[in-house]
């Protein structure tokens, strides 16, 4: 069990959420990207042991997307920020 801090609803059980995976993936220009760059964009994800920026969706609550920064080793949530914001510097 894990509590996810929704910026609107506060701490809620993880079962109310859907994880949208790694955040801040930049879409390359399909006109100029090589096959390798495009494949990297589509399929390759970081999967770090440690600090990870993720997108979450409060599916059974307010139905809003937002970002969290989570330590994948101890599940500690280091930052919560808007879906339109870039990753906080301090959290890595």
């Amino acid at each position: 069990m894990m509590l996810i801090p929704c910026p609107w609803c506060g701490d809620r059980l993880d079962a109310e959420f859907t994880c949208g995976g790694e955040a801040h993936i930049v879409r390359p220009d399909p006109a100029t990207a090589s096959d390798a760059e495009w494949a990297d964009y589509l399929f390759m994800r970081k999967n770090p042991k440690g600090v990870h920026h993720e997108r979450w969706f409060h599916a059974h609550g307010c139905r809003r997307w937002f970002h969290i920064t989570r330590d994948t080793v101890n599940h500690r949530i280091l930052a919560v920020y808007a879906i339109t914001d870039s990753a906080p510097e301090a959290a890595g």
């Binding site: 609107w8 059980l13 079962a15 059974h60």
Partner: protein, 240 residues
């Protein structure tokens, strides 16, 4: 266009009215169905004042809270989304008023999408806690609060109506039978009773807005009346 239809609650087959004479004083969980409550969703950036003028209830700005007024409840569902719940058969007039007051806003009648299970009783918090991940303890929840969550894995909109405590659970039509049975099963070891609910008081359209007392309808005062033949002084051009 169908002007008449046979409206049916998703719990009709349970024959709840046959049980609602049961003694409720000894029960730990008392359940009732509130049938056909009017439900209208609003989406957009909406000035709360315009809804108060149109319906007689304000929109809550604080997440997961409820404002009540004119026999309506306005539930916060998201930063740009609200559910307005009213007495049966008010939905058509409500959507009409809102569509007039809020052109360009999504106003949708979702009355038929859900039914409402009202729960109360000395064990209601414990029984809801068996299947709902929300913290409903009075230190975290309370009257006038609402939340979207799950109960027995079924998506619900929960509204705590009073501190008794009494909860209204707005459940999707297709899940209503499941959720009713789930609640009955969860409460059975402690005693469950079904009660009848008197129809909620009707909603009336608010009276058309009048000018507030500070601004009486405009009537030019005699002293301000332009004098016949008076010349208008030429405006001086400010030097730059």
């Amino acid at each position: 266009m169908a002007e008449h239809w046979q409206r049916q609650s998703p719990l009709t087959h349970l024959g709840l009215s046959a049980h609602d004479k049961n003694e409720t004083s000894a029960a730990s969980l008392v359940m009732a169905e509130l049938r056909f409550l009017a439900k209208v969703t609003l989406r957009g950036r909406i000035p709360g004042e315009s809804v108060r003028t149109a319906l007689g209830v304000s929109l809550p700005g604080e997440p997961n809270t409820v404002m009540t007024g004119n026999n309506l409840s306005a539930l916060w569902l998201g930063p740009d989304e609200w559910l307005i719940v009213g007495p049966p058969d008010a939905e058509r007039a409500m959507t009409g008023q809102l569509a007039k007051a809020l052109p360009g806003t999504a106003v949708v009648d979702v009355t038929e999408g859900r039914t409402t299970i009202r729960t109360r009783g000395p064990m209601v918090l414990d029984i809801l806690a068996m299947g709902c991940p929300l913290d409903l303890h009075p230190r975290a929840f309370g009257p006038g609060r609402c939340a979207q969550s799950t109960l027995g894995r079924s998506p619900i909109i929960l509204h705590q109506v009073d501190g008794a405590p009494l909860f209204d659970i707005h459940v999707e039509r297709s899940q209503a039978d499941y959720l009713w049975t789930w609640l009955e099963t969860a409460g059975r070891p402690y005693g469950v009773a079904v009660e009848a609910v008197t129809a909620p008081p009707a909603w009336r359209r608010p009276a058309p807005r009048r000018y507030p007392g500070a601004f009486p309808p405009f009537a030019p005062s005699p002293s301000r009346q332009p004098t016949r033949g008076a010349t208008v002084p030429a405006r001086s051009v400010p030097s730059s």
